[in-house]
Amino acid sequence: MLLKRRSLEDILLDTFVYVSLIFLIIVTLYPFLNTIAVSFNEGLDSIKGGIYLWPRKFTTFNYRSLLGRQQIYHAAWISLMRTVLSVVFGVLSTAIVAYTLSRKEFIFRKFISVLVIVTMYINGGLIPTYFVYRAYGLTGSFWVYVWPAILHAFNVIIVRTYIEGLPDSLIESARIDGAGEIRIFLRIIIPLCMPVLAVVALFTAVAAWNAWFDVFLYNPSSPKLSTLAYELQKVLQSAQAMSASMEQAMSRAAAGTGEVTPRAIRATMTVIVTVPIAVVYPFLQKYFVHGLTLGGVKE
């Protein structure tokens, strides 16, 4: 047997590989961990700087104070509702359209396919869309969060490709046994498509949970329709307009009256909005990697 000796190149390459990956991990995780540390640190102490991975003066005051506000719960409820409804309607409508488009003999297959695919490349744009939705009475309404989001061309194509890959014999034998189209769809197609529908559900859910621009655009003056993501966006934007000295002055004023400082609000809100995603993320990970490869096989 040959003597296995690590060459200099080998050692250098391995060093480079591990150093750069550890750098990546730090760059990815540090800002999150730092934000968590700041959210558990006393607000007035945080503005002195020097908080890294661990709070210096530990407190749960920031959370107690923010979670004591009614507005947060209402926004969380709206966020949850829009996420759940977008996922339910989105998955169902994507599955229905994808199924009919996967039927080779369907007479409108070509027409609807073109209708769907064109929307992947052309859209009305910000201003025309705004006025059209306003004409529909969607502005100032909860449904502006749900209806525009339920059917995306890309999802339809992924699911259609997946259904086309299923053996036709399953559907044929069900049909011979006398099952109607609705029954075939609900009892055969939906269960078989679970993996790809999980991917659609995940992407729809993440997009709905993270969305803030539609709140800003369509419902800026309806606090009852605000979402968690939009509340966070408002906090962050107001912080960006502030200079460092202004922020320090405000922090002192806030601390003096027993309020949460701007920096602490920012950090705490960031954690509150991010935690739901961070919690479900590891469980869903295997699905979305699968989903991306599905996306890769599209025609």
Binding site: L21, G49, N123
Partner: protein, 317 residues
């Protein structure tokens, strides 16, 4: 017997007509009909709204009171110096994001491919996808915190290493904005972007590596002569697919990260539409800018498609 067969044929023929098929496929028609209506209402009617760019649109007036102005809004648009600033910023930011994003994703895929400790590889990959799922609201805030002048870690490290004497206000330097946008894009998407290249690497025949090792090729040589050529077609495909996105600089990110000091380098199409349309009430003018963007994007998509065909790639559209 013969008559029966004949009858079958007749029935078959009757079934084959459009009406016959329509009746036979009525379930599918009813399933898809609501969504055809939906797609037209939510995707096509807004495209029809493009006519407002040819008018002097003011909300509330009825359709007969509208004043048609032809291509005046487009003329004004092309004469506006801000428009060219917008075009420059949009193309620059998206090009920086495209090329740096691809470069670092490929580099990360190559690096991950060299990791032999599978557990470390899996954990690193899991961590690297995470930022992709976190919204830009959070991501932009993390970037601003890291770069802030009071206590931002980048300034603290640079101060500690004595590279700078006093903290730099990174978000206040106009010319730096494009690069900060690019870097924060890479930070958020590099892991996700690497998946497609890693998938391409797993489909490279392992015999090639074995043969090369026996012939005495070093690891770097194997990367250069086997791995890189092995993913070349995927790289070309990703590049072509992204050409159609050249006018999409990423609205949310730019909107959230920009501020008044850097606006001349941060104003992209969507910011222009928002500022001129909804804030200054020049609706038709702003719509014209949006239409310009859409039309150029479509031309880019079809050119990319043509290019893909010429290069012998699969069709994209």
């Amino acid at each position: 017997m013969k008559e029966e067969m004949l009858a079958d044929v007749v029935v078959y023929k009757k079934d084959d007509s459009f009406i016959g098929k329509l009746i036979k496929q009525s379930a599918w028609v009813f399933m898809s009909l609501p969504f055809v209506v939906y797609i037209i209402m939510f995707r096509y009617v807004p495209i029809g709204g493009w006519v407002m760019a040819l008018q002097n649109y003011w909300p509330g007036k009825n359709i007969f009171q509208k004043q048609w102005v032809g291509f005046d809004n487009f003329k004004m648009l092309f004469e506006d110096p801000v428009f060219f600033q917008v075009l420059r910023n949009t193309v620059a930011i998206s090009a920086i994001k495209l090329f740096s994003g691809m470069f670092f994703s490929i580099l990360l895929a190559l690096i991950l491919n060299e990791v032999r400790n599978l557990k470390f590889k899996r954990i690193t990959q899991t961590i690297s996808y995470l930022p992709y799922f976190i919204s830009w609201v959070v991501a932009a805030n993390l970037v601003l915190n890291v770069l802030s002048i009071d206590g931002g870690i980048v300034n603290e490290v640079l101060l500690a290493l004595r590279i700078i004497d006093e903290p730099i206000m990174f978000m206040g330097i106009p010319k730096l904005f494009w690069w900060i946008a690019g870097a924060s894009h890479v930070r958020k998407e590099v892991g996700w972007g690497a998946i497609v290249y890693l998938a391409a690497m797993t489909s490279i025949n392992p015999n090639l590596y074995e043969a090369a090792t026996i012939d005495g090729a070093s690891r770097l040589q194997r990367i250069k002569y086997i791995t890189l050529p092995g993913i070349k077609s995927v790289v070309v495909l990703v590049l072509i697919m992204n050409i159609g996105q050249l006018l999409n600089a990423g609205f949310e990110q730019v909107y959230l990260m920009s501020n008044g000091r850097v606006i001349e380098y941060a104003r992209i199409f969507e910011l222009f539409e928002l500022d001129f349309g909804l804030k200054m009430f020049r609706y038709s003018f702003a719509a014209a800018a949006g239409i310009f963007k859409s039309v150029v994007s479509i031309v880019l998509v079809f050119s990319a498609n043509l290019l893909a065909k010429l290069l012998g790639q699969e069709r994209l559209v």
